[in-house]
C-alpha cells in the first residue's frame, strides 16, 4: 500500500474505535465554555474554535470525522467559537505536561534517531550539536516511547502530585493524572480559586515546582536551624537532595559542581560525619572548609535533583489546548488514559493505554527498534513483512515506520 492508502487505513481503524467506544468518552467539565479542536487526517489541518453543547454532539463528530487527534481548551470562555480576541476569557484549569523530551533518561534515548538535513547522515540518541560528517546543525528527529523513558516521566509525575497535594494542599479529586498516549503524562488541576490566576501568578507556581529562584539562605541554609530531612516543602527537599548527593558523590562529581579542592576533600573524607549530622541539624554548620559558596553549589545540585521536570511553557499558558481523555493519539494509536492518583505507581502505560485489542494486521516495517506493547516485545525490524496484533501494527503505522502490506483479519 502507498503512504496515502496507509493513512486512510489508519483513519478507518480510528473510525472503528470511535464508532464502538465513543460512549465511554466523557466531555470535560463545563464543556459549553470550552473550545474544541481536531487534527484532521487527510489534510493534516487543525479544525479549531468548535463548541459543543452536549456530549452527544461531540461523540457524533468523532464518529463521523474520525480525527487523528482531539483537543479541548484548558480555558473557559464566554464564546468559545469566536476568534481568540473575541472569546471572553473566564478562567483556565492549571495544567502540567511531563514529557520524556524534557527529562534526561537512563536509556539515553538510544531508540531515537536523527537525520542530518544537509548530508543525510544518521545516528542514534538525541541529535548532536553538529553533524559529525558535515558540521551541519539542523536535523530531523524521530522519537520513540520506551519503557525507560515512560518510567522516568512517571517518576516526575509522582513527584509533581506530591508537591501539589502536600505543599499546595490540593485534594486528590482536584488533581487528575493521565498518560498522554505518547511519551508522557498530563496532570490537570481543576480548582475554583486557581482558575482565575493570571500568567504571572502561574509563573510563581511553576518556579516553585521547578525550583527556579530558590535562595538557600532564605530557607535556613547556614542559619541556626538548617533544613532537615523531615522539614516540609522545599526545606525538606533541599535536605533530601543534599543527603542523597553527599552520600554517594565521588571526587569527580563534587568537582563537577564547581567546589574547591579543599571542599571536595572535606566532603569525601568526612562523609561519616555528614551522615551523622542529619540526626541533629544537618551538615550546614558542622563542617569547616566548605563555606557559603560551597554550600550554595551543593544546594543548587540538590534543587536540580528534586525539581520536577515539567514543560514550563504549557503551565503558564492560559489558552492551551489539551488532549481529551480516552481519545486516540495520532502518533501511536494509543489512547490518552486517566490514572487514579493511587494507581500511578502501578500503572503500565504500554498495557493500560492499548485501544485496539483484537485482530492482526500484516505490515511492511522499514525500520523499528525493539519495543514492548501489551504482554509482548517486538522487533527490532528492518525491511521486514510481519503480521502483528492490531495495536502493535497500528503503533508502527502511526509512527511512520511501516506501511500496510495487506489486511488479513479485521474484526
Amino acid at each position: 500500500m502507498s503512504k496515502i492508502e496507509t493513512k486512510a487505513f489508519i483513519q478507518e481503524r480510528f473510525a472503528e474505535y470511535y464508532k464502538t467506544k465513543s460512549s465511554n468518552i466523557q466531555p470535560p467539565t463545563r464543556m459549553e465554555n470550552r473550545e474544541f479542536a481536531f487534527l484532521i487526517f487527510k489534510e493534516k489541518i487543525m479544525l479549531r474554535h468548535k463548541g459543543f453543547k452536549n456530549a452527544e454532539n461531540l461523540r457524533n463528530l468523532l464518529k463521523n470525522v474520525a480525527p487523528s487527534d482531539v483537543y479541548y481548551s484548558s480555558a473557559h470562555y464566554e464564546r468559545p467559537e469566536e476568534e481568540m480576541e473575541e472569546k471572553g476569557w473566564l478562567g483556565a484549569d492549571l495544567i502540567f505536561d511531563i514529557d520524556a523530551d524534557h527529562i534526561p533518561t537512563p536509556c539515553n534515548k538510544q531508540h531515537d534517531t536523527w537525520t542530518c538535513n544537509k548530508c543525510g547522515a544518521t545516528g542514534r540518541g538525541p541529535p548532536p550539536e553538529g553533524c559529525p560528517q558535515c558540521g551541519e546543525q539542523r536535523f530531523d528527529d524521530k522519537t520513540w516511547p520506551c519503557e525507560v523513558c515512560l518510567e522516568s516521566a512517571k517518576e516526575e509525575t509522582i513527584k509533581l502530585v506530591d508537591v501539589l497535594t502536600r505543599d499546595f494542599g490540593l485534594s486528590s479529586d482536584e488533581v487528575n493524572v493521565a498518560f498522554s498516549g505518547h511519551r508522557g503524562y498530563h496532570v490537570h488541576v481543576e480548582n475554583e480559586v486557581i482558575q482565575t490566576l493570571d500568567q504571572v501568578a502561574r509563573k510563581e507556581i511553576v518556579d516553585y515546582i521547578v525550583g527556579v529562584g530558590l535562595e538557600p539562605q532564605l530557607l535556613g541554609v547556614e542559619g541556626g536551624s538548617g533544613p532537615n530531612l523531615d522539614d516540609p516543602g522545599w526545606r525538606g527537599r533541599i535536605a533530601k537532595g543534599t543527603y542523597d548527593f553527599l552520600n554517594t558523590a565521588t571526587f569527580t562529581q563534587l568537582a563537577e559542581i564547581g567546589l574547591k579542592k579543599s571542599a571536595v576533600k572535606t566532603l569525601v573524607t568526612q562523609r561519616a560525619r555528614v551522615l551523622e549530622s542529619w540526626r541533629d541539624r544537618g551538615p550546614w554548620k558542622v563542617l569547616k572548609g566548605v563555606g557559603s559558596e560551597g554550600w550554595r553549589r551543593v544546594v543548587q545540585k540538590a534543587v536540580e535533583e528534586q525539581s520536577v521536570k515539567i514543560d514550563t511553557v504549557v503551565t503558564t499558558d492560559i489558552h492551551r489546548l489539551i488532549r481529551l481523555t480516552d481519545t486516540l493519539h495520532g502518533k501511536t494509536g494509543l489512547k490518552k488514559t486517566a490514572v487514579a492518583i493511587s494507581d500511578v505507581e502501578e500503572f503500565d502505560p504500554l498495557k493500560g493505554a492499548i485501544a485496539f485489542k483484537e485482530g492482526v494486521i500484516k505490515i511492511t516495517v522499514s525500520e523499528a527498534p525493539k519495543f514492548t506493547l501489551g504482554e509482548r516485545t517486538y522487533g527490532p525490524y528492518k525491511d521486514l513483512e510481519v503480521e502483528l496484533p492490531t495495536a502493535a501494527a497500528l503503533f508502527l503505522l502511526c509512527k511512520g515506520a511501516a506501511r500496510v502490506a495487506e489486511e488479513i483479519v479485521h474484526v
Binding site: L197, E204, D207, P232
Partner: protein
C-alpha cells in the same frame, strides 16, 4: 475623581501607590483582628496561627492563591513562593508581611476604581485637573521610558539575546519563546521588520509568508495593533532562556533595560572623536 479625570495612567498609578502605602503604614499599627477584617473584605483566606510554638515569629497563614496574586509583582527574592514555607496550600507570614501584601491588593483596587471614565466636568473642576497634571509632570519630568536610540548596537545586547541571536544566525532551532523574545527585542530596539525576517532565513523550516506575518504582528503592524515587548528577566529564567547573568544583569529586570544601560557604557568607552 480628579485623578481619574486626568486620564493619565502614570498619574493614576502614582496616586494608587501613594494611597496604598498610606493604608499599609496605618496597618502596621493595627492589631491582628483589624488586619483579618480587611483581608476578609478582599475575600482572602487568612488565618491567625494559634499554636505558635512551632513558628514563633510568624503570625498568619494565607491561602497560596491570595499570596501569589499579590506577591508576584514584588521584586525582592523573599516574596517568591519558593522561598516561603508552603504547607497544605497555606503560606506562613508575619503581620508586617501581610500588611505589605494588603498594600498590593489596595493598590490594584484603587487602580481598578480609577479606570472608570469620567465625563466632561464643570470648567472650574477641569482647571483643577489640568493643574494636577501639570504639577505631576513638573515633579516627574515628562519622559518616562526613554526612546531607544535609533542605531542598533550589537555590543549592547544582553547575554540572553546574544545567545539567541547566535543560535539563529547559525541556523539552529529556537524554541517558540526564544523566537518571540528575540523578535520582540529586535523590533523594540528599532530593527526593521525586513532585517528581522532576514535573520530567520537561516532556518531550515523558513517560510517567508508565515515569518512575515508573525514578525509584523509582533511589531504591531497586523490585526491587534499592539506592539509586543520581550518577556521580563524572571520569565526568561522560568523558561530556561536566561543563560546566566553578568554584572549588568544584576541591576536590571528586563532585557531592554539592559540594552539601554549597556549602550551608555559602550558609548562612554568609545573614543571621543572631537578631541585631537
Amino acid at each position: 475623581m480628579l485623578v481619574a479625570a486626568t486620564a493619565d495612567p502614570r498619574v493614576k498609578r502614582t496616586y494608587a501607590l501613594a494611597e496604598a502605602k498610606r493604608v499599609s503604614n496605618q496597618l502596621k499599627e493595627e492589631n491582628k483582628e483589624v488586619i483579618e477584617k480587611i483581608a476578609d473584605n478582599f475575600n482572602w483566606k487568612l488565618k491567625t496561627i494559634e499554636n505558635r510554638s512551632s513558628a514563633p515569629s510568624l503570625d498568619f497563614t494565607l491561602r497560596f492563591t491570595d499570596f501569589v496574586k499579590n506577591a508576584a509583582t514584588i521584586q525582592d527574592k523573599k516574596w517568591k513562593l519558593i522561598n516561603r514555607i508552603l504547607l497544605k496550600g497555606e503560606v506562613y507570614l508575619t503581620k508586617a508581611e501581610v500588611s505589605r501584601l494588603l498594600e498590593e491588593e489596595v493598590r490594584r483596587y484603587i487602580e481598578g476604581k480609577l479606570e472608570t471614565k469620567v465625563g466632561e466636568l464643570p470648567p472650574n473642576l477641569m482647571t483643577r485637573v489640568e493643574r494636577l497634571k501639570q504639577l505631576f509632570f513638573q515633579k516627574r519630568g515628562r519622559t518616562g521610558w526613554e526612546e531607544a536610540p535609533k542605531e542598533i548596537v550589537i555590543m549592547a545586547y544582553p547575554p540572553c539575546i546574544k545567545s539567541l541571536y547566535d543560535t539563529l544566525s547559525s541556523g539552529r532551532h529556537l524554541s517558540h519563546i526564544g523566537r518571540f523574545t528575540l523578535t520582540t527585542f529586535l523590533v523594540n530596539i528599532g530593527m526593521t521588520v525586513e532585517s528581522v525576517i532576514d535573520l530567520f532565513r537561516a532556518l531550515s523550516d523558513f517560510n517567508e509568508r508565515m515569518t512575515r506575518y508573525q514578525v509584523e504582528h509582533i511589531a504591531g503592524g497586523r490585526g491587534s495593533r499592539t506592539k509586543y515587548i520581550p518577556p521580563r528577566c524572571d520569565t526568561l529564567r522560568t523558561h530556561g532562556v536566561c543563560p546566566g547573568m553578568d554584572e549588568i544583569c544584576k541591576t536590571i529586570r528586563h532585557p531592554l533595560g539592559y540594552y539601554r544601560r549597556k549602550i551608555r557604557v559602550v558609548r562612554a568607552e568609545a573614543p571621543a572623536t572631537s578631541r585631537v
